[in-house]
């Protein structure tokens, strides 16, 4: 019998599930502490966050905390392995599309006039990170956004740390980015796949069992908002500088870590028609839902149990 705790975090919901009910208090405390640390380092919306301070000083070298340094390294690795499909240098484009404050405030706002920004592709390549000295140089005018990688990496780190500290099998979900560590319950961790991470667990949808690594879902139907140019969403295509308009609505990926899964699912949304072969070449398992509602999977994606409400 598992025990679950959930609470708001990162503008979404954190869910912690432990296989050993006795571990829940320690596990929840460890998770909350880590989330506070990461939020303080990586938030784009907190005036006192380290990332906001770094973005204010683009064009000059800045010293980073070990925490933020690790997250920037992960974001640059993600850009490298996807050849820039997952790009941390798109903060300005996100802001121009209307995502310039916490999503709760964006969603509550009455419309937005989309601004055009000068498109300069591949700027992530000019970001210099020295991991030893922990110094970062971001080209002038470039705003970092770690949204595509920070939640997933936090889920990975938290799940692993909790499993090690408590000895309990652990699942951590941050807005639907799921990482598991330690021994899974018999039959695995059952996860409902949906367009939205806050879907009712009793509702319809495909269910799969996860035993290791991570699972992440990226969707253009969540975190979207009205503008004078139609609905915008938060997955920016670095090739165009505006929200991705490919054929997929939602992509779920299972991989060795939640970070890998989220990088792959984001890249797939951006890639569109070429996503399936791209995912197969990278040895990950994926389920893709087209805008039409048609569902496809990579070759090993399970024929899963689909429950209707």
């Amino acid at each position: 019998m598992t025990t679950t705790v959930s609470f708001p975090a990162f503008g979404t919901t954190a869910v912690l599930v432990v296989a050993d009910p006795d571990a829940v208090t320690t596990a929840a405390s460890l998770l909350r502490r880590r989330l506070r640390r990461v939020d303080h380092a990586c938030s784009r919306f907190r005036d006192d966050s380290e990332l906001v301070a770094v973005n204010r000083r683009s064009g000059e070298p800045v010293e980073l905390s070990a925490e933020l340094c690790g997250f920037v390294r992960a974001a640059l690795d993600a850009a490298h392995v996807t050849d820039g499909l997952v790009d941390p240098a798109l903060g300005t484009e996100l802001r121009a599309a209307g995502y310039d404050r916490t999503f709760a405030l964006v969603a509550a706002r009455d419309g937005w006039r989309v601004r055009t920004v000068e498109r300069r592709r591949g700027l992530w390549r000019d970001i210099e990170l020295d991991d030893v000295r922990r110094t970062l140089h971001v080209p002038r005018g470039v705003e970092l956004d770690l949204g595509a990688t920070a939640k997933a990496r936090t889920a990975d780190l938290a799940a692993r740390a909790i499993a090690e500290a408590t000895g309990s099998g652990t699942l951590v979900s941050l807005g639907g980015d799921v990482a598991v560590a330690g021994a899974a319950p018999v039959g695995g961790w059952t996860v409902l796949l949906s367009d939205h991470h806050d879907a009712s667990l009793d509702g319809p949808g495909e269910r799969i069992a996860l035993f290791e690594g991570g699972l992440a879902t990226s969707s253009t139907s969540a975190r979207s908002w009205p503008t004078d140019s139609g609905r915008m969403h938060h997955v920016i295509d670095p090739r165009t500088g505006v929200p991705a308009a490919g054929m997929w609505r939602t992509v779920t990926v299972a991989a060795a870590s939640c970070l890998d899964a989220n990088v792959a699912s984001t890249a797939a949304l951006v890639l569109g028609a070429d996503a399936l072969s791209w995912l197969e070449r990278r040895n990950v398992h994926a389920r893709l839902v087209a805008r039409t509602g048609a569902v496809m999977g990579t070759r090993d994606w399970p024929v899963a149990l689909e429950c209707s409400a």
Partner: protein
């Protein structure tokens, strides 16, 4: 007599100014040389640690493929939903 002293004094002063000017030019050259040398240290390639990639996605064809998720047992209710956020 006083004219001679004045001429001598003028010549001495001229010599002194010339020497000072020469010394000053020399000093400026040294400063300039030092200034041109200093930035050279900054032009050295930055030491960037070869950090192992945190994202392992398809990093090596020899890397084992992670296990695929399995169909969930019919009796196991989901503990969490994975979806966009």
């Amino acid at each position: 007599m006083s004219t001679g002293v004045a001429l001598l004094a003028a010549a001495a002063l001229t010599g002194a100014f010339t020497a000072l000017a020469a010394a000053s030019t020399h000093a400026k050259k040294i400063v300039r040389r030092l200034e041109t040398r200093r930035p050279a240290a900054h032009r050295l390639a930055p030491v960037v640690a070869p950090a192992p990639p945190l994202v392992q996605l398809g990093s090596s064809s020899a890397a084992p493929r992670p296990a695929a998720p399995a169909p969930a047992p019919a009796t196991a209710p989901p503990v969490v939903a994975s979806g966009g956020s």
